[in-house]
């Protein structure tokens, strides 16, 4: 990878107002560009807000439409990660994030894990993504995850094994109050998770979480950058909008992977065999023919 400077755009999107949010994105992208960033990262669903319910079909946009087109046009000289509701040609709606670079859509990630429990109802609103791919950029191989995706450890492992040196996590983590021992409840849990994940997979993790309030649901912010040794190198303020640029030195990735060759030592065949066995048990499938073992 090349050393890259990432701008964390910790915004409070306006619920259901794609036009207003697009204007906000374009403004913050210019600020990030002026600050010398190679990449500007916005939170999950940054063009729409989170608690959409029946607004989902009203705010959904196609990847090749006008809104994403305007954002894509702004991606010359600076790469952009933004969150949106994607409508595919078959009228399925996805919680998605796009990586825009050089005036093109380099990659679209559809959220793989839709939380549908407690206060979340994403499984009711969205179709589930089916693929996870690292993709090349001018600055190095990159992967995208959306919020809950990070809570399933195979996701980051798969991206790292595919070559990603940077995993960008766009999040909408709601606050569950604040405790004297660890501050805002979700921020502290996320901090732990990000540190462990970066260290286990020796990747840079850039997590941008939103702020603001929707129908009483507050979002913590506290966007975080963790280096491949698991050290937090930047943490944005809690609860308030903020833009901060963070440099990710390429040599640190090399040092981390030299000291902890975890990616090298991964046992892909072992994982494959055991997952295949679990799959046969879980779905009551016949044993594989001898030749395929």
């Amino acid at each position: 990878m090349h050393t890259r400077t990432v701008a964390l755009a910790q915004i409070a999107p306006k619920l259901g107002d794609v036009r207003a949010n697009l204007a906000r994105h374009l403004e913050w992208i210019e600020r990030a560009r002026a600050a010398g960033a190679d990449l500007a990262v916005f939170p999950e669903l940054s063009l729409t807000g989170y608690d959409l319910q029946d607004l989902v079909p009203e705010v959904a946009i196609p990847v090749d439409g006008e809104v994403l087109g305007r954002l894509t046009a702004a991606s010359r000289g600076i790469d952009i990660v933004a969150g949106f509701v994607e409508e595919d040609p078959g009228h399925k709606f996805y919680n998605a994030a796009a990586y825009l670079a050089g005036g093109t859509v380099a990659h679209v990630h559809r959220k793989l894990h839709l939380p549908t429990y407690g206060l979340f109802q994403e499984g009711r609103e969205f179709s589930v993504g089916e693929t996870l791919r690292a993709f090349p950029t001018a600055h190095g191989s990159t992967g995208l995850l959306l919020c809950e995706d990070l809570w399933h450890s195979p996701t980051t492992w798969l991206l790292a094994q595919q070559g990603a040196d940077l995993v960008v996590v766009a999040a909408n983590a709601p606050s569950r109050g604040a405790h004297p021992d660890h501050g805002p409840t979700s921020a502290s849990v996320w901090r732990d998770l990000l540190k462990v994940t970066a260290r286990f997979h020796t990747v840079y993790l850039v997590c941008v979480n939103r702020v603001g309030c929707e129908d009483g649901l507050s979002f913590d912010g506290g966007s975080t950058v963790v280096d491949p040794t698991g050290v937090i190198v930047a943490e944005l303020p809690l609860l308030d909008e903020a833009l901060e640029c963070v440099e990710l030195p390429a040599d640190l990735l090399r040092t981390a992977r030299t000291a902890s060759p975890l990616l090298r030592d991964a046992r892909i065949e072992l994982v494959h065999r055991e997952v295949a066995r679990l799959r046969r048990i879980r779905f009551d499938l016949p044993d594989e023919p001898e030749a395929e073992r």
């Binding site: 608690d51 319910q53 109050g177 004297p180 309030c213 929707e214 129908d215 009483g216």
Partner: protein, 282 residues
């Protein structure tokens, strides 16, 4: 052998009051501005909940933008009025006083003898009438002051004190509101007096409910926040009568916490399959 510790037995109602106040002030500000208003109206009873709500609103909007209303009835305690005035003075917010006695008397005149509880409901609704009318006149939102303990136990009057536009305190137990009050500098006299709905002379919440807030809050936290079973609550040392009484009360008061039930007779019914957040309504 060391004792086995169970996570459900660790009842912990402590809050980070500073951070919670920041979250709640932003909530008030966001919701008031999103409604296209700049002001809030708060009924100041002289108690801790309304003092905290007014303080949060003053932080969120500026003291000039928070109108405090004292809404005494002739049976109200004199101390309640002076305590309420102290709060408004400390915050630097405008203070108005409307005597609800003629409204309540007029109601009793047309409806006949109503008894203590119905009279209390009428008083709570007379206060609601004044608060919402002032909010319309001032282009403001009415701030709710019901806390989580009251909401769970149904200790409030439907369309009375339970009515509001936004409620910053509804997810905090009474004992947590006390922590917030201390952080926000609410006067000690208000923080330490016995909670009362001021519906008849000498009334106290804890006498009405038959249990102290610090005890029932610990039980509610265990049952609601920690999702503990009846057996787990008993194992944590709560008396069976209290556990059963509280569980029954929480369940039977659900009607006070939800909008009226709409009968579904169409393909798209409000609240059931017409689902929009209030903040992003079409």
């Amino acid at each position: 052998m060391s004792a086995v510790s169970r996570s459900s037995s660790r009842i912990d109602l402590r809050i980070d009051a500073a951070c919670t106040a920041e979250i709640l002030a932003r909530f008030v500000r966001t919701e008031v501005l999103r409604a296209g208003r700049a002001r809030a109206v708060v009924g100041l009873s002289g108690g801790i909940d309304s003092a905290v709500a007014a303080t949060l609103a003053a932080r969120a909007l500026g003291p000039d933008q928070v109108v405090c209303l004292r809404l005494p009835h002739r049976t109200s305690a004199a101390a309640a009025l002076t305590d309420a005035a102290d709060v408004a003075r400390l915050l630097g917010t405008p203070l108005e006083t409307v005597d609800i006695t003629p409204i309540v008397d007029g109601f009793v005149q047309v409806s006949g003898e109503v008894g203590r509880v119905r009279l209390g409901n009428a008083m709570a609704r007379a206060r609601m009438l004044c608060l919402f009318d002032r909010s319309a006149a001032l282009d403001a939102l009415v701030l709710g002051t019901s806390n989580k303990s009251e909401l769970l136990l149904g200790y409030g009057t439907l369309h009375g004190d339970l009515a509001s536009a936004i409620n910053p305190l509804g997810d905090l137990y009474k004992t947590q509101v006390r922590q917030l009050a201390e952080h926000l500098g609410v006067p000690e006299a208000i923080r330490h007096k016995a909670p009362s709905a001021d519906l008849w002379p000498g009334q106290t919440d804890e006498e009405d409910l038959g249990v102290r807030y610090d005890e029932v809050d610990r039980l509610l936290w265990l049952l609601v926040d920690a999702r503990a079973s009846r057996d787990a609550a008993l194992a944590a040392g709560f008396a069976p009568d209290l556990v059963d009484g509280v569980r029954q009360r929480v369940a039977s008061m659900q009607f006070k916490r939800v909008p009226p039930i709409v009968a579904k007779v169409s393909s798209r019914t409000l609240g059931r399959d017409f689902r929009y957040p209030r903040d992003g309504a079409p």
